[in-house]
C-alpha cells in the first residue's frame, strides 16, 4: 500500500518527541479519522532551529509528521508557511488515494505551531 519512502519514515521516524520550552506548539487532528498530531518548534531569529512531533495515527500520519520535520528544519518562517500538505505528500513520493484527504495533517500542525509562536511573540 505505502511506498518505500513512506515506510522508511514510518519505521524510522525523524524528530520524534516534544521540545521542552518550545517556542510554538501546534496540535491538530480529527479523532474520527484517527489522527492527532502535536508539533513543537524552536525558533531562533526567523529560522526553525528544531522541531519535534508526536503523532497518534496511521502509517501515513506518522510518515508525514516525520517528513514535515525534515522539510522544515533550518527553514525560515516564510518558507515553512509555504509548505503545504501536498508538499509533504509529494516529498514522500505520494500517498495512497484513501490517505490523501485525512492522515495528511502534518503541514497543518506545522502552521498551527508557527501561529502559536507568532501569537506568543506578538504579545
Amino acid at each position: 500500500m505505502y511506498s518505500e519512502k513512506v515506510m522508511d519514515h514510518f519505521s524510522n521516524p525523524r524528530n520524534v518527541g516534544e521540545i521542552e520550552n518550545a517556542d510554538g506548539v501546534g496540535t491538530v487532528g480529527n479523532p474520527a479519522c484517527g489522527d492527532i498530531m502535536k508539533l513543537s518548534v524552536k525558533i531562533e531569529g526567523n529560522v526553525i532551529k528544531d522541531v519535534k512531533f508526536k503523532t497518534f495515527g496511521c502509517g501515513a500520519a506518522i510518515a508525514t509528521s516525520s517528513m514535515v520535520t525534515e522539510l522544515v528544519k533550518g527553514k525560515n518562517l516564510n518558507e515553512a508557511e509555504a509548505i503545504s500538505n501536498a508538499t509533504v505528500a509529494e516529498a514522500l513520493g505520494g500517498l495512497p488515494p484513501v490517505k490523501q484527504h485525512c492522515s495528511n495533517l502534518a503541514a497543518d500542525a506545522l502552521h498551527a505551531a508557527i501561529e502559536d509562536y507568532k501569537k506568543k511573540h506578538a504579545k
Partner: protein, 404 residues
C-alpha cells in the same frame, strides 16, 4: 522472516485436502456440468457430492443449498431475494447496526427503494437486546436478518432465540453465518433459521465460492437470472472446482471441528491473556465468553491500529484492524462505534483471528513482540504521557475531514 497468520476472519489458507479436491476440475475434468457428454459427467457428480457435504454440515436437504460466488452474493441473494418475493406482504426489515457491509449494503439499498429498515443497537459488549428486537416487529415485518457471529469481535448472537421470535411472528429469518460456520456447530433444523449464508474462503476453501441455505418452501427472487442452474435460483455456469472445494471444506469442518475448536480456543486464550498481562491499557472489544473460539479484538489505548498492524507486519505477523483504514475508508469500525467504544479506542483496535494453522510458538512470538511495539508507539503518541504512564492531557483543533 517468520510468518504468522492471525487474520483468519479475513480469509483462510486453502486446506491441502481441499486443494487436492478441486484440482481435477481445473485440469481434465473441465467440462460444463450441464453437458450431457463425457466432459460434463464428473463435474456434475462433483457438484452433487459437494452439495451433499454442505447439506450434511448444516443438517439440511441437498435441495436447500444454493451455491454462490461469495458470502456477499449470498447475503444479497437472501435479503433482496426475500424482500422482493415478500414485497406484497410488507416492507419492513429488521437487522442490526453491526452486520457485515454486505448485509448493511443490501439493507440500505432496499431502504432506498421503498423498504423500511430497522437497525438494532448492541450494548457495550456487542450483544443484542431481544426485547428491542421484539418491539421492532410490526405487522409489516417480512424479514429479520441478523448475523450469527460478528466478524470483528467474534460475538455470537442468540440465533436460536431470534429464530423462535421470528417463527412466532411468522417472519422469515436469515442469518449471515459466514463467521460461524466451521467454527461452531450449526444445525439449521435446530436453529429455526429460514436462510443462512456461508462463505468458502473462511473455512479453508478458496475465494470465489459460497453457499446459501434456503429452507424448503421459501421462495426467493434470483439475483442472477439466467439458466436453470441451482434449480433456477442462480444462473451461470457452475464454478465446479470451487464448489468441489467448498464441499471438501464442509466435510473437513464437520470432521475436525471439535478438535480444532479445542486447539484454537486454547491458543486464542493464551494470546488474549498473554497480551493483557504484559500490556497496560488494553480493552477487550466484545463479549468475554459469547464469542467464536478463534477471535479476540483488543484496543491498545493511545495508539492507532494501523500503525500497530504495520509494525506487526514488519515482524511477519498478519492481523487486522477494526479500523477500516485498512479497507478503503478512514472511518473507524462501525461495529465498535455501535458498541460505544470511543473514537480513539476504536481506531486503536486490533483483531487477531486464529486458524487451524497456528501453533503455540506463533502465539508466544506475538506475546513477545507486541508489547515493545505498543510501548514505542505510545512513546510517539500525544495522547499518552510516557512519564506518567497514563493518558496525557491534550487539546487540539480539528483539521482534516474523513469524508471524501
Amino acid at each position: 522472516m517468520k510468518k504468522i497468520y492471525l487474520d483468519n476472519n479475513a480469509t483462510t489458507a486453502v486446506h491441502p485436502e481441499v486443494f487436492d479436491a478441486m484440482l481435477p476440475y481445473l485440469k481434465d475434468e473441465f467440462g460444463n456440468p450441464s453437458s450431457i457428454h463425457w466432459a460434463g459427467r464428473n463435474p456434475r457428480k462433483a457438484i452433487d457430492e459437494a452439495r451433499e457435504k454442505a447439506a450434511k454440515l448444516l443438517n439440511c436437504d441437498v435441495s436447500e443449498i444454493i451455491f454462490t460466488s461469495c458470502g456477499s452474493e449470498g447475503d444479497n441473494l437472501a435479503i433482496k431475494g426475500i424482500a422482493e418475493s415478500k414485497r406484497d406482504k410488507g416492507n419492513h426489515i429488521i437487522t442490526t447496526k453491526v452486520e457485515h457491509p454486505a448485509v448493511l449494503g443490501a439493507c440500505k439499498y432496499l431502504a432506498k427503494t421503498g423498504f423500511d429498515v430497522t437497525f438494532l443497537d448492541v450494548d457495550s459488549q456487542g450483544m443484542l437486546d431481544l426485547e428491542q428486537l421484539k418491539r421492532a416487529i410490526t405487522s409489516k415485518t417480512i424479514l429479520i436478518t441478523i448475523m450469527f457471529a460478528n466478524n470483528e469481535t467474534g460475538v455470537i448472537f442468540p440465533i436460536d432465540e431470534i429464530g423462535k421470535i421470528a417463527k412466532e411472528h411468522n417472519i422469515l429469518f436469515h442469518t449471515d453465518a459466514v463467521q460461524g460456520v466451521g467454527k461452531v456447530p450449526i444445525d439449521v433444523k435446530k436453529l429455526n433459521v429460514d436462510l443462512l449464508t456461508l462463505s468458502g474462503h473462511k473455512i479453508y476453501a478458496p475465494k470465489g465460492v459460497a453457499a446459501v441455505y434456503v429452507k424448503r418452501g421459501v421462495r426467493l427472487v434470483p439475483l442472477i437470472h439466467g439458466g436453470h442452474q441451482e434449480r433456477n435460483r442462480r444462473g451461470g455456469t457452475e464454478n465446479t472446482a470451487g464448489i468441489a472445494a467448498l464441499g471438501k471444506a464442509c466435510e473437513i469442518a464437520l470432521r475436525d471441528m471439535a478438535e480444532e475448536t479445542k486447539h484454537i480456543t486454547a491458543l486464542r486464550d493464551r494470546l488474549e491473556n498473554g497480551l493483557r498481562e504484559k500490556i497496560p491499557y488494553v480493552r477487550l472489544n466484545g463479549h468475554p465468553t459469547r464469542r467464536i473460539p478463534n477471535t479476540v479484538n483488543l484496543s491498545f489505548e493511545f495508539v492507532e491500529g494501523e500503525s500497530l498492524l504495520l509494525n506487526l507486519d514488519m515482524k511477519g505477523v498478519a492481523a487486522s484492524s477494526g479500523s477500516a483504514c485498512t479497507s478503503g475508508t478512514l472511518e473507524p469500525s462501525h461495529v465498535l462505534l455501535a458498541m460505544g467504544v470511543p473514537m480513539e479506542s476504536a481506531h486503536g483496535s486490533v483483531r487477531f483471528s486464529l486458524g487451524r494453522g497456528n501453533s503455540a510458538e506463533d502465539i508466544d512470538y506475538v506475546i513477545e513482540a507486541l508489547p515493545a511495539i505498543v510501548e514505542r508507539m505510545r512513546s510517539m503518541s500525544p495522547l499518552y504521557s510516557t512519564a506518567a504512564k497514563q493518558a496525557a492531557n491534550i487539546t487540539f483543533s480539528e483539521s482534516g475531514s474523513c469524508s471524501h
